[in-house]
């Protein structure tokens, strides 16, 4: 079953429009919440007038921080780090707002239309404060975004391996450059969504949340309400319309909606609209990497120093993105001396958070641009420079000398980077493309070839759990804490369970993301679920198989070794004699009241297991892309593109390919299309798809995939992770390819994303410098 290209069972409801997204859940009597959001990037709140809004017919209530004071507590930090400085975040702003979009008040009404009408009637009086829409402004600004801090720095972290200063001093060649890269938001097609109801008789809250981490949302609600966690049930429905990282964060609405359901005695829901997604949902913002790299005459890297500045937005609850970005920089290359340093800076922008890749695309972009610069400096082929620096296949586990975001040493578990790279060069016929490029250049055609090789820390802990039960119906149930957002968990985890339980996948149901069904879980992010939940599920399924066979053995009076699971039955091998799984389960799960179980039968065909990997594994990917640039319009046409990836053992190739294709599209969007633009004082200027383009099927070229399977030694399944693989290397490969295409002009590209306008400006400037007329 593992390794089979199974089509998805989820499709059958989704293709019929019968999915159950949060907004589709039927909650009789539901009231609708809308949010009054700050229109100011940074301001004191002098007063909020709600009377007019409250008097609007159909309005059930208007609530500011003072009305919600009992639950408007300071939030615990999402992921503590010694370097992360205190910045208090709450559900509703108290006294001060720090970004456009920050919730100031909420309205609940009989319809969303009425709730939005009432939001318009809430008058907030602001005293604007100096504000920053750029990390450089924050660094120079006297005004402190968080008054408890002496400046606008959120964190400063340095990691070192070897002696970079000495190595740079000794290097025959040193390059210094500044590379900027901005990444926008998640833009799941379903925005954030929360619905809740309160059960008065039990004092329990039931919360449906289109979130990647329901157990973490439960903890936050419990904290804010001062309640034990078992009073709160958070369900991430089986159908969540994409996640991509921002839905792994926690948001004010997650805690406000259930509280209002309790206060009003009615179900309440909040559905984020697209404008709100732009101004209130996490984005990755800017990183500015200042690199110094030392290398030999042969292009072998000796030292790399990178100090990067990172725009963390108005609040910071973790350092996940910069920690990952910095530790992704060294990538698949041997670099004996490393200095990775970052300064995260508060700005008056929506808080930053992880978006598919979570800092990795930035890290890969930096390293691959360095590879291109080394090649150019030494007049070597960029593929050859990479080849010379790659970690050989026999050097695993490979210790980089830094610490990864999971707190464990940055040690690569397994891989074969030279082979994966060579396969890509062969697949695209790199040598031929170089020849064609040379011929075309003579004719003035701007063709370029980009290369990128990237690693991805995946499968990070701490753990996931899985329960397997064989029910008295004869069907098995798998329960996972982590929820899917389109990845197809119902299909893939039925495959994993089938492999170890022996029952057919069609007879196995998969339940996900409901805190009432499994007590502990972490969530779906960082390409981590299969390496955590997979081994937990495998172990639980094997245990239940043993219980199933032992009970059947007692019923059949045959040795366990002689039994096998065949479809819905347990049979004696090679014979017709057998018993149905349903019958075995009825004996083990229910038995006969007051009567002893048959000798050898096991009570309860159920097992729960947790798996905690000791550290992250590392998937790898190679991207090679050929582009042509139109010198007049600056448009980039993709001529050919191959992407190879190695994510350890593959459970379902069809679905992994889907993940990679989707990731590539996200990466291309980051490289050439989407960009969140803010004014210098922090006003978001791109708040609709009219000026924030995301590519369609017209812009996406056909991409050819290839793969390689290097098993991970860190878990018994040998799995790694594939959710982000496609995205990571795209900014690097596209920017590299465009720069290569523009090489006749000597154009240097040091920022990402690129637009056609920027490209034609670069060409124009280069021509002007050469004194050519346009």
């Amino acid at each position: 079953m593992i390794g089979e290209r199974m089509t998805r069972r989820e499709d059958l409801r989704l293709l019929r429009g019968k999915g159950q997204f949060v907004d589709d859940i039927d909650l009789p009597g539901v009231a609708h919440m809308a949010v009054v959001r700050s229109t100011q990037p940074h301001a004191r709140i002098l007063g909020i007038q709600c009377d007019e809004a409250r008097s609007l017919p159909g309005v059930l209530g208007v609530f500011t921080a003072s009305e919600l004071e009992p639950m408007n507590r300071v939030w615990p930090v999402h992921l503590a780090h010694p370097a992360l400085r205190t910045n208090d975040m709450r559900a509703l702003a108290v006294d001060k707002v720090r970004y456009v979009g920050e919730p100031v008040a909420v309205v609940v009404a009989e319809s969303r239309y009425l709730a939005e009408d009432a939001c318009e009637l809430v008058e907030v009086e602001y005293e604007p404060l100096p504000s920053s829409g750029d990390l450089r402004i924050s660094l120079e600004m006297d005004t402190k975004i968080h008054a408890n801090l002496e400046d606008n720095i959120a964190a400063h972290v340095v990691q070192r391996a070897g002696d970079v200063e000495k190595a740079l001093g000794d290097s025959p060649h040193v390059i210094r450059e500044t590379l900027r890269i901005t990444r926008g938001g998640g833009h799941s097609m379903e925005g954030r969504a929360v619905a809740a109801k309160y059960d008065v008789s039990l004092g329990n809250y039931i919360v449906w949340d289109a979130n990647q981490t329901p157990h973490q949302v439960r903890s936050l609600i419990a904290h804010c309400y001062g309640l034990p966690e078992d009073k709160i049930r958070v369900i991430a429905p089986p159908d969540v319309g994409g996640g991509f990282g921002p839905k792994a964060a926690k948001y004010p609405e997650d805690v406000i909606v259930p509280w209002l359901a309790m206060l009003l005695g009615r179900p309440v829901k909040f559905i984020e609209d697209r404008y709100e997604h732009f101004v209130s949902c996490a984005q990755e913002h800017l990183q500015e990497h200042n690199v110094e790299v030392g290398f030999t005459d042969d292009g072998l890297l000796l030292a790399l120093k990178d100090h990067f500045y990172h725009d963390i937005g108005a609040y910071a609850s973790s350092l996940i993105v910069p920690l990952i970005a910095g530790t992704t920089v060294p990538g698949p290359y041997r670099i004996p001396n490393l200095h990775i340093e970052f300064t995260s800076v508060f700005t008056n922008k929506v808080p930053s958070g992880s978006v598919r890749g979570s800092g990795r695309p930035q890290g890969i972009y930096v390293m691959e641009r360095i590879m291109d610069m080394v090649a150019e400096e030494l007049e070597l082929d960029p593929a050859e420079v990479r080849r010379r620096n790659l970690i050989p296949a026999d050097e695993f586990p490979y210790s980089v000398g830094l610490t990864f975001r999971d707190g464990s040493p940055l040690t690569y578990d397994s891989g074969n980077y030279p082979a994966l790279f060579q396969k890509g060069l062969d697949a695209i016929d790199y040598a031929k493309h170089r020849n064609v490029q040379e011929e075309l250049r003579k004719k003035g055609v701007l063709r370029g070839i980009g290369l990128s090789i990237g690693l991805e820390g995946v499968g990070i802990g701490p753990f996931e759990g899985a329960t397997v039960r064989v029910e008295s119906s004869g069907r098995a149930v798998v329960i996972l804490g982590a929820p899917p957002q389109g990845q197809g968990f119902e299909t893939t985890y039925a495959q994993v369970c089938s492999e170890f339980l022996g029952m057919d996948p069609e007879d196995i149901d998969v339940v996900t993301g409901d805190t009432a069904t499994i007590p502990y879980g972490i969530g779906t992010f960082a390409s981590r679920v299969v390496a955590n939940a997979g081994p937990a599920l495998a172990k639980a399924a094997a245990e239940v198989r043993t219980k199933l066979l032992e009970t059947a053995s007692s019923l059949l009076e045959a040795s366990v070794d002689d039994l096998e699971v065949v479809r819905g039955d347990v049979r004696v091998k090679g014979m017709q004699a057998g018993v149905s799984i349903a019958r075995v389960a009825q004996v083990a799960n229910a038995g006969a009241p007051g009567v002893s179980l048959p000798k050898g039968a096991v009570a309860g065909l159920s097992a729960t297991e947790y798996f905690a990997p000791e550290r992250a594994g590392y998937s790898s990917s190679v991207q090679i892309c050929v582009v042509e640039v139109d010198p007049e319009t600056g448009e980039v046409e993709i001529i050919d593109w191959v992407v190879g990836h190695d994510c350890g053992r593959v459970i379902n190739p069809l679905l992994v390919e889907g993940q990679v294709y989707g990731g590539i599209a996200h990466g291309l969007s980051n490289a050439l299309y989407e960009e969140s633009i803010y004014s210098e004082d922090g006003v978001p200027l791109t708040t609709s798809y009219l000026n924030y383009p995301i590519p369609s099927a017209r812009e996406l070229p056909g991409v050819r995939l290839y793969d390689q399977e290097t098993l991970s030694p860190l878990n018994p399944l040998g799995v790694k992770g594939a959710g982000e693989a496609g995205t990571l290397g795209v900014p690097a490969v596209i920017i590299g390819a465009v720069e290569d295409a523009l090489r006749p002009f000597g154009v240097k590209i040091r920022s990402c994303p690129l637009s056609p306008g920027m490209i034609s400006d670069l060409i124009y400037e280069a021509k002007s410098q050469k004194g050519e007329t346009m």
Binding site: L15, R16, Y113, G241, G242, G486, Q487, A697, V703
Partner: protein, 161 residues
């Protein structure tokens, strides 16, 4: 504003409703007309998730007022399955090729493609890409849904010849 009467045929059922003039067709579909498979992605006419067929033409139901649909016939994703409840050939092809992931944008894409395949039995890949260029899918990168459509088109073109 006072509600006004609206007559709409949706997925074969005739409705007579009183509708507030500002109500978007998408919201009416999702509430009174029971088509929760029509999803709202951007509410400004770019993402295409809410696309339905109005008198056979693909329309963005977030850019159309319910009152504008008065007297018209609407088809939503719920109308696509065959009378026996099985998937139609477009849906089946999406299933086989893994043409959808989270499924949120899928309803609208299926409706645009339904209009295309109604108009052109065996469209080219380029035509398929053009027809769905008004849709954003953040999950799939479009490749597998294009493969699904190209295969369907190929099968139909064999039938035609």
């Amino acid at each position: 504003m006072e509600p006004v009467p609206v007559k709409i045929v949706c997925n074969g059922t005739a409705y007579q409703l009183q509708v507030e003039p500002r109500t978007l067709l998408a919201d009416l579909l999702r509430s009174d007309l029971g088509s929760k498979g029509t999803h709202i992605g951007c509410e400004h006419g770019v993402c295409g998730a809410c696309t339905v067929l109005v008198d056979g033409e693909p329309m963005r139901s977030c850019l159309m007022l319910a009152v504008q649909a008065d007297g018209r016939t609407i088809q939503t994703v719920e109308s696509l399955e065959l009378p026996d409840g099985s998937l139609n050939e477009l849906q089946e092809s999406f299933h086989e090729h893994h043409g959808l992931q989270c499924g949120y944008c899928t309803s609208g894409i299926l409706m645009s493609l339904t209009a295309l395949f109604n108009e052109d039995k065996a469209p080219s890949e380029s035509r398929i890409r053009d027809y769905i260029q008004g849709h954003i899918c953040r999950c799939t990168g479009y490749q597998q849904m294009i493969e699904a459509c190209v295969e369907l088109s190929g099968l139909r073109s064999k039938e035609l010849s």
